[in-house]
């Protein structure tokens, strides 16, 4: 229909299809799902809706809270004291049993890992990034955090202590980065744009203002 040449691969997939063969976990999930539906326990739509709900969180939720904390010391105090209530103040529904905010200071940088699986504050950050779930990060973050951070491009001087938080049980962690220099006078919305997902995990620093 056209002599347009498609050799520039515009429509090539960005990665190989990975759903041609089921993993053991996927096979088990599909079998369980079939049983729940056939047994009348849940409908396919209820299962789909729950998965959609699970993926509703996004790093913007945590960024909004931290930006508010940067401009409002009273809110910051409330967020450090009770992160779930502070989320609710901004209309964010946190489904985690317990959320804790840890503040970076000039003396201490904080980072989070779940060495046992992939515990993560999904309500405030969405689904965890692939690196967070990887065995490499989970084993190395507790063993050589400074090296891991350097690989992320974050060089913490030895004068600053590093605290690694293993999110191994019931609490979920939000790191509050320090407000960057040169952001005086920026609006809450502009500040929120500087707060990336990885900076809330402690694997990055906020974006420097232009």
């Amino acid at each position: 229909m056209s002599d347009h040449d498609h050799d520039h691969d515009d429509h090539a997939p960005t990665r190989e299809d990975d759903d041609l063969e089921l993993t053991e976990g996927e096979a088990r999930f599909l079998a369980l799902k079939s049983l729940l539906i056939e047994g009348g326990v849940m409908t396919a739509d209820e299962i789909r809706a729950r998965m959609e709900f699970n993926e509703r969180g996004s790093p913007h939720q945590a960024a909004r809270m931290i930006a508010r904390a940067w401009v409002d010391p009273d809110y910051k105090a409330r967020m450090l004291a009770d992160t779930k209530s502070a989320a609710a103040e901004l209309g964010i529904e946190a489904t985690e049993a317990a959320l804790v905010t840890i503040e970076n200071t000039p003396e201490r940088h904080n980072m989070v890992v779940c060495t046992l699986c992939s515990c993560y504050p999904r309500s405030l950050l969405g689904e965890p990034p692939a690196f967070y779930v990887s065995k490499a990060y989970r084993s190395r973050a507790v063993r050589e955090p400074r090296k891991v951070l350097r690989e992320f491009g974050v060089d913490i001087p030895d004068a600053v202590d590093i605290a690694v938080h293993d999110s191994n049980a019931d609490l979920r962690y939000v790191i509050m980065p320090m407000r960057p220099q040169g952001t005086e006078g920026m609006s809450e919305e502009e500040l929120a744009a500087l707060i990336t997902r990885d900076s809330v995990v402690g694997c990055a620093l906020p974006v420097e203002p232009a």
Partner: protein, 101 residues
Amino acid sequence: MSEAEPSYAVGDRVRILDIGKPGHVRTPTYIRHKVGTIERFCGMFENPEDKAYGRWGLPPIPLYRVQLKQDDIWPDYDGAPGDVLEIEIYDHWLAPAGETT
């Protein structure tokens, strides 16, 4: 000893035990036998070691955050002397640091 009350206060020195319990436990191997300090009492939580197998996990058990020096976890740790690790440990995986495991 009842497990329904917190047994440790902030600042107490504690040893993380290896109680040899199989299955879904939340105390990673790398931290067992190590000594640290109670950083905070987190509250009472249903026991995940029971909940993982369809039980209720009741009564709730105390959970703490324990702070350990990295140098006390890894003999060859490469970092600053003030580097620490903080981890959540349930009451029955702890003993006063003076006691042997």
